[in-house]
Symmetry: none
Subunit: 179 residues, 6 copies
């Protein structure tokens, strides 16, 4: 599906593990040690790395698109010329590992993220992405505003005012409010 | 009820508004301007202040106790010798105004607060109070741990590790984990 | 007076307390409990809320305009489409409660605020508003520059350099310096 | 080797991939799809997860011990009761992914980390661990002090003074200075 | 005077400027103006600058003791084993250069510093030193509390609460309050 | 040389030390050691210190231009209308004192600075200057990217992503990458 393609600029070194095992099996190897194809350490290495990439990267990429939508994709796209591995890690760790965890629903996760970014006050572009993400996963505009108002208590009024400006930009872009 | 009493050390200058209006009415004043007792500016001032205190302070105090429990009360108690008005404001604005708002349930509010305090990383005592508060309003220990793990993404691993240490202390105190 | 009008967008639910008491008195109620009009809890509630709004909001609005001038008004105006209640709180708590306090003169209050915002380094719009406010309440341009230089000691040179850029913009806008 | 053991408390769900493939091969499966043992999704899932764990976790654990030594191990140990997965991530992402990268020598990496933690000023325990780590990978005590002095420029004197106190504690513990 | 001695551990390379002028005089110059070598403006400038250099440390040391008192001295003392040059810089730049400037009275300077450190929230030891310093230069306890209350607006309630705890410790130590 | 000129707006009070020694010689001293006035160690020390003072600005200015190049000069230039003394201090303390120190090579110093500014996340203009400075003193683009990736661990992904955007702008401006 078009939506599930990996982004341009992220060097995909992954190798489909199932097809690899298939190949291995197709060699008719009866034991790993007696089989040339598998005695090569580098191949085994590739295998583990492929497995790694396959899983976390793919899962993360889907999660990123599910939560952040186009805005998330643009973040990764913008990294391709400068730090593609940071793009890969952004997919793998935050989305492949953390947002894919059970134990806290994704709406609550976005509430936590909007709160944290509003409170930190030094990550305006990410705050905008996650205000959009919060809307995507079911937060109402009102709930987002409530989180922002609450941050005046913990991080002060300037942090809340600047977060409100970020929300205004996102809500306006989405046609939620007319400015 | 014992639980609803205002804390010692917060100088209650409030004046029961109903009894004041009662008094006013008992003067038989037919109009405010013609009545000496009310033409005094200071009295009017007292009235508005009483009204103010009554509402926001009382609502905030109940909310504080409902959410933070004893830990919240201790925060206010600790301020009585140094900055009682900061104690009063802590009750009135965060709890009387913000936590009393509709539009976001109190569990989501505590998720936002734990996230923000963990991310800021410079408010360890308040983080502990709100980890406890999150438990009080229905967050599971697991959900709190999930918020903290997620903060490693936005504020870095040191912030998450220090928040985990705070959670460990609170969970241990509550007998949720044995350390 | 035009200058004292409340801003558009802030929903004024306040109720003039004096006229309410007047009305109460005009009922000829001799005691609050015996008077139907006042025995209604909701009305008493409305009364306290009106008193609250009246006092803190009006006092805060005047203080905001006195200190921040048009820049402050624009902050509130910008919130009307997104978070009018945050606008109301910004008037009520910082200005109605805190800046209206005795115990520290307003010039010292602005010195404190410019220092804090310069040191925090993540609230450039608010820093500009308060550099203007500092000028409004009697700080000289030189005193503001001294505060900023001093912040190089506590928050580092980047914080001081960025605050100097903010001061340059404000001073230039006011015609204090020609750039 | 004792030193390379994984820490207690980190639930090792890993599965030796080579032995697994071995087993698969030993089934004499000629193709993956025709082979019961591999048609089970859960097993495949386990495989990818094992591969994942194997690689990044093992590499990270060795790197953590090489760089941070016992101090790093204690960090992971302290998490076992509260957030073992955060411990696993701390091993996998910072150490398995980032510190294992080429392109910057490990001494330069510790210079960067000590600088960042000293400048942030809200991660004293981690700063101590990394001052020790910097010593472990070849920074001299003098070089560490130079980094700290330099942070007075970027984050202010309080940050530098508190980092110097952290260095004093670590150097004293290691017998580098006598206090 | 005992109080003016430089701290142990700070290498004193300073030289009494008067003895230098004495040396100049020993060249036979009876007056500075009648002596060619010294009548040169540039030389006089040079002399002043030497004095100044001398002066930065000496002036800073006096200023530090005047403002921070024993607490400041202890800060420098604590650095002697680990980073004496950071101690020297702390005397020379913040106190010799910045606090010695005209253009802002020292009381206003301490108001700015207490505000900044309270707002930053990650420099508790320095905040305590400067709460003491503020008292030393004429701030009342009440004025310090007002600054702290005001920081709840700009940096949030946790920052204000933690600063209040610092003030409580300092005021108690000084016998201003009994706890 | 054009490149070594001091910036407009910074008052040059410096004095060529050699002319001072010349003056000394004009007193009839044939050699420094045979001349009582100058044979005094303290005097020589004093002379050195004068030179040193002279030196802080001159040394700092050269260091600033060597490290930061034109970008550094523009920072100082931008201050001339608003806070020229902050410009002077920026030259004297960070560059005349700190970057001129021995004990840590200048490449390591820039690694530390890029790391700190990326982690702090509220000093984007200074981060750009120092990414350029890092290139100037021998860091490769790849090494800078590695530092930035590493900051995702300590300060979170938003800090790393914003630093990557800063690096992209600088690398693009220098023609290192084509965007």
């Amino acid at each position: 599906m078009e939506n599930d393609e990996t982004p341009v600029g992220i060097k995909r070194r992954d190798f489909i593990i199932s097809s690899f095992i298939l190949s291995a099996a197709s060699f008719g190897c009866l034991s790993l040690t007696s089989c040339q194809a598998f005695s090569d350490w580098a191949v085994a290495e590739e295998l583990t790395m492929s497995a790694d990439r396959n899983d976390r990267f793919e899962r993360g990429w889907k999660k990123l698109k599910e939560i952040d939508g186009d805005a998330g994709e643009k973040v990764i796209e913008a990294l391709k010329d400068i730090a593609p591995d940071l793009g890969r890690y952004t997919i793998e760790y935050p989305f492949g590992d953390v947002y894919s965890r059970e134990g806290l629903d994704v709406k609550s996760r976005e509430i936590a993220t909007v709160a944290a970014l509003a409170a930190m006050g030094n990550a305006q572009p990410q705050l905008k992405v996650h205000i959009g993400a919060a809307l995507n996963v079911g937060c109402s505009a009102q709930e987002i505003v409530e989180i922002i108002i609450q941050m005046s208590v913990y991080a002060g009024f300037p942090a809340a005012l600047n977060a409100a400006a970020a929300a205004k930009a996102v809500f306006s872009e989405r046609g939620i409010i007319n400015v």
